[in-house]
């Protein structure tokens, strides 16, 4: 990782289209060399934020600084940032070489240098020998690489990527995620990535900013966001999660006593809640433990229930359990070489517990 000084500073930026507030008072610093992802559902404002950085839109209020300079009124062609578009937006009437050389030619670099840099770039994205083709003659994956090469060859301070992988199939997408991450480490360029795909965000980013209706609802490393979601939106947006209703009933030295879905249980929380407070208990499917009534660990289990459905996923099994009171929980069990005890049948009674302290407790609002 390179320096920690901010390359991008977004200060109190709001954006309004007609009567709709698309971005509401966003502030964020992005460090030089960082891989930051804006993650959120469609319509949350993440693409608008990226377009503000690129210069295609101007903020209604607030300021954007890139490399210490205020950028609000600087047009896109005067900014040292480049964009990879979701649709790639390759120039259809130009060859791959001309596409990649376009930015360098605008800078009036000598022809020999342009040739060298484009060739080097095409090699980096594994497109050697395709310089003479037109975009329409390339596959989706190859077009994606041209779009990437066309932006990166200009050596921008920041590379903006607007859901660039969404049109690729699953396998190619996973492969490109790895390549993008390696490319970013190798070049040391700051990447600002936009996606609605949580797995994609987590696979590549140093830091993720989760967005929802014009706000950044949480920012942090992928691990922080997955393990300690600060609100229900983040919790349910990033991955599968079980949400249980609970009421705090008392305080013990190392935990809170509570009634969870009608059953007495213990909760562990960093925050303190007064007695009588209604809370939500969040549990990831992989944190739930299932056991048969006759197993020794079943005694500590909070809930008893019935298996509704098992879905075999290869390395894991997704199990749906209906607990007493009728709530359905989603549990994920990993195959273990020396035990076959996750071979449940629908209708079988089970006990449900979770790893102590892995639950997240949030106020019910």
């Amino acid at each position: 990782m390179t320096g920690r000084e901010p390359i991008i500073d977004i200060r109190n930026v709001s954006m309004r289209f007609d009567d709709t507030l698309v971005l509401d008072d966003i502030s964020l610093s992005i460090a030089n060399g960082e891989f930051l992802t804006f993650l959120g559902p469609s319509g949350c404002g993440k693409t608008t934020l990226l377009r503000l950085l690129a210069g295609f839109e101007s903020p209604t209020s607030g300021d954007i600084f890139i490399n210490g300079q205020r950028m609000n009124d600087v047009p896109p062609h005067r900014r040292e940032v480049n964009t990879v578009f979701q649709s790639y937006a390759l120039f259809p009437h130009m060859t791959v070489f001309e596409n990649v050389a376009f930015g360098l030619r605008r800078k009036k670099l000598p022809a020999s240098e342009i040739k060298g840099r484009v060739a080097e770039m095409l090699a980096l994205v594994k497109l050697e020998g395709l310089g003479g083709r037109r975009p329409a003659q390339l596959s989706g994956g190859q077009q994606q690489r041209v779009a990437l090469a066309r932006a990166v060859v200009n050596r921008p301070l920041v590379l903006l990527l607007d859901e660039p992988l969404s049109a690729l199939d699953f396998k190619l997408r996973t492969q490109m995620q790895m390549e993008l991450k390696h490319l970013q480490r190798r070049l040391g360029i700051t990447f600002v990535f936009v996606t609605h795909d949580q797995a994609e965000a987590f696979a590549m980013s140093d830091r993720v900013a989760v967005m929802s209706s014009g706000h950044i609802t949480q920012r942090g490393t992928p691990q922080e966001i997955y393990e300690n979601p600060q609100n229900l939106f983040v919790a349910s947006f990033v991955g599968e999660i079980n949400i249980l209703d609970a009421v705090i009933t008392g305080h013990a030295p190392d935990h809170l006593e509570a009634t969870i879905e009608g059953r007495r249980g213990a909760l562990h929380s960093r925050r303190d809640y007064p007695d009588g407070q209604r809370v939500k208990v969040l549990l990831r499917p992989e944190d739930l433990r299932l056991s048969r009534p006759e197993d020794p660990e079943a005694a500590e289990a909070c809930f008893s229930g019935v298996i509704k459905e098992c879905t075999y996923k290869g390395a894991t099994v997704d199990i749906q359990v209906e607990i007493e009171g009728g709530k359905a929980l989603q549990a994920t069990e990993f195959f273990n070489e020396d035990s076959e005890d996750i071979d449940y049948r629908p209708g079988e009674p089970v006990r449900v517990s979770w790893v102590r302290g892995w639950e997240t407790v949030l106020p019910d609002d």
Partner: protein, 257 residues
């Protein structure tokens, strides 16, 4: 049975459309003064046509006006299309609607209104007024053709060019113009054919000093259809076919790329 009916129906439609044209072309080669009975193959009407200087002069005038009007209309119409597509300005919606209205309004309205305008500014009717009129009615067709192609493009392409450091001028020259070129060419050809066979508007806005082919033919036919007119029409027909075919080919080839 149904197949036969269908085939017969289609044949009838095509016959209705093309038999008159075919008859016209055939009689252009008829060795007879009266157009209605066949007396053997001859090229004499073509020979006579090329000896008719007033008719040839009118043809040259028509081509001259056609080329100039098409070129001017293409330049203006293309820029209008790019402006409507690319920029947000006051009256943009009005302008784009007005363009469509101009294509469907009756020619006679345009002819009379232009005549009134030229009278009002005391412009003598002749070459200049005719050219201005032709440019006027060709512009909307060019704009619509070019706009149609612009609307088919990914809007991010222009943004990508901006993002890579291109100025407005460079975006127009290196991105927009090459991409719309087939539509621009098609617009030119369309304008040329529109100008070449216009009677209605031209009738109002040209004077005796400047004769053009369609009006000349119109005047000649009043005294009965002469076989020379058949010959001339045959030539014009072949020319129109070539131009329309070229225009189609250009649009098609680019679309396939």
């Amino acid at each position: 049975m149904i197949r036969i009916v269908k085939a017969a129906y289609v044949s009838l439609v095509y016959a209705f459309l093309y038999v008159p044209i075919l008859v016209l072309v055939v009689f252009a080669f008829n060795d007879s003064r009266v157009a209605t009975n066949w007396q053997g193959f001859s090229l004499r009407w073509f020979a006579k046509l090329f000896g008719n200087e007033t008719l040839l002069g009118a043809a040259v005038n028509s081509v001259l006006v056609g080329v100039l009007a098409a070129t001017l209309a293409t330049a203006i119409g293309t820029l209008a299309a790019v402006a409507i597509y690319r920029y947000r300005f006051l009256g943009r919606k009005v302008l784009s609607t007005a363009v469509y209205i101009l294509t469907i309004q009756p020619d006679i309205v345009m002819g009379i209104s232009l005549l009134v305008l030229f009278m009002a500014v005391r412009m003598p009717l002749g070459f200049t007024t005719l050219l201005l009129a032709h440019v006027t009615f060709c512009i909307p067709f060019v704009t619509i053709t070019v706009l149609g192609r612009l609307k088919g493009f990914d809007t991010h392409i222009v943004e990508a060019a901006q993002d890579l450091g291109a100025s407005e001028y460079e975006i127009f020259l290196r991105i927009i113009l090459p991409m719309i070129l087939p539509a621009v060419a098609a617009g030119w050809l369309l304008s040329f054919t529109l100008s070449l066979d216009d009677v209605m508007v031209s009738f109002f806005v040209t004077g005796p000093s400047f004769e053009i082919l369609p009006l000349k033919i119109y005047a000649m036919v009043k005294l009965g259809v002469k076989p020379e007119v058949n010959a001339l029409s045959a030539i014009l027909l072949v020319l129109t076919f070539c131009i329309v075919f070229a225009a189609q080919l250009m649009m098609k080839e680019r679309r396939e790329k």
